[in-house]
């Protein structure tokens, strides 16, 4: 009787760890707004940062389980840029406008080059992977200690934890965004 209970308890624990991973309990949080479809066009105006932007886009397009696909196009409602916003305290900024039906009208995700110019390639990729997450409808989430999702709010996601691309929780978040949009 007791051994049967223990077997079930261990099974549940193993299932939980296999599903969530160590320290990876569900954490994603969604913005109130999202794109209407799963193919999302963007216009890249990030100039000297274009290579990093391409890698960050490839990280999202290549991650297992992601239901969305980003593609480059002129005049898209989603814009990526790299600008010097000065010592604002922020290395990335995403501005979103949302219509009354919960759909994005325009989104602009930016590197702040005041900080990003001092970052290495992987740190910039982590930063922009995070901004793309916002552009896909994800809000900040997670807390130290490591590991953290790419949607963790601070740059120590890379500098302390080494996270460069989207994590399983981030993908689950985008799946939830798409599920919500398709349910409307």
């Amino acid at each position: 009787m007791v051994s049967s209970f223990l077997v079930r308890l261990v099974s549940v624990a193993v299932l939980f760890v296999a599903t969530a991973g160590p320290g990876q309990a569900r954490a994603y949080t969604l913005e109130a707004c999202a794109w209407a479809g799963t193919s999302i066009a963007y216009t890249d105006q990030s100039g000297a940062y274009a290579g990093t932007t391409e890698r960050a886009v490839a990280d999202w397009n290549g991650v297992r389980g992601s239901p969305v696909r980003l593609y480059a196009a002129n005049g898209a409602a989603l814009t990526f840029q790299a600008r010097n916003f000065g010592r604002s305290g922020y290395d990335g900024i995403t501005v979103m406008s949302c219509d009354g039906a919960g759909h994005f009208v325009h989104v602009t995700s930016s590197y702040n080059t005041y900080y990003a110019d001092r970052y290495g390639s992987a740190a910039r990729e982590s930063l922009f992977g995070h901004e793309i997450g916002h552009a896909l409808g994800l809000a900040h989430t997670g807390a130290l200690p490591c590991p953290v999702p790419i949607m963790y709010h601070g740059s120590d996601r890379y500098f302390s934890c080494g996270e460069v691309g989207p994590q399983p929780d981030d993908v689950a978040g985008v799946q939830a965004v798409v599920h919500r949009v398709q349910g409307r």
């Binding site: 000065g86 900024i93 219509d99 740059s155």
Partner: protein, 136 residues
């Protein structure tokens, strides 16, 4: 008649209003009060006045708010500072709410500049983003 009323009601329905929201990523999250203080050029208590100006940089709205200083806790003596924040009228900024006129704050501040050799702007930003603003 009913169809006419329905059509009128449809026309009268206000068009969806686009709302703007800004999310920001901390370049260097502060771990606590000691770190916030160490990284700040100025720590003050003060009250936001009604004076503010707004500007857009590459599509990103910023607002610069005057704060009347009531007490300097660290840094040079000042009786007024201009605090620069992401945001503006009607813009949601969940990570670092914009200062509200008449409200008191404890502010951890860094001098704002566009680059290391930049001429001082006289503006400050909050240290660690939203962490550098405490309602008092």
């Amino acid at each position: 008649m009913a169809a006419g009323s329905a059509a009128l009601a449809l026309c009268a329905r206000p068009a969806p209003v686009a709302t703007e929201r800004i999310v920001t990523t901390d370049a260097r999250p502060a771990a606590g009060v000691a770190e916030l203080t160490a990284e700040s050029d100025l720590v003050v208590r003060g009250v936001a006045t009604g004076r503010r100006r707004s500007e857009r940089v590459a599509g990103v709205p910023f607002v610069v708010t005057e704060v009347r200083v009531t007490r300097v806790l660290a840094g040079p003596a000042v009786d007024m500072v201009w605090v620069r924040q992401v945001g503006g009228p009607g813009v949601e900024t969940p990570d670092a709410p914009v200062l509200v006129a008449g409200h008191g704050y404890l502010l951890y501040l860094q001098r704002f500049a566009y680059g290391p050799g930049d001429r001082p702007s006289g503006q400050y930003v909050t240290t660690g983003g939203g962490a550098g603003v405490v309602a008092a």
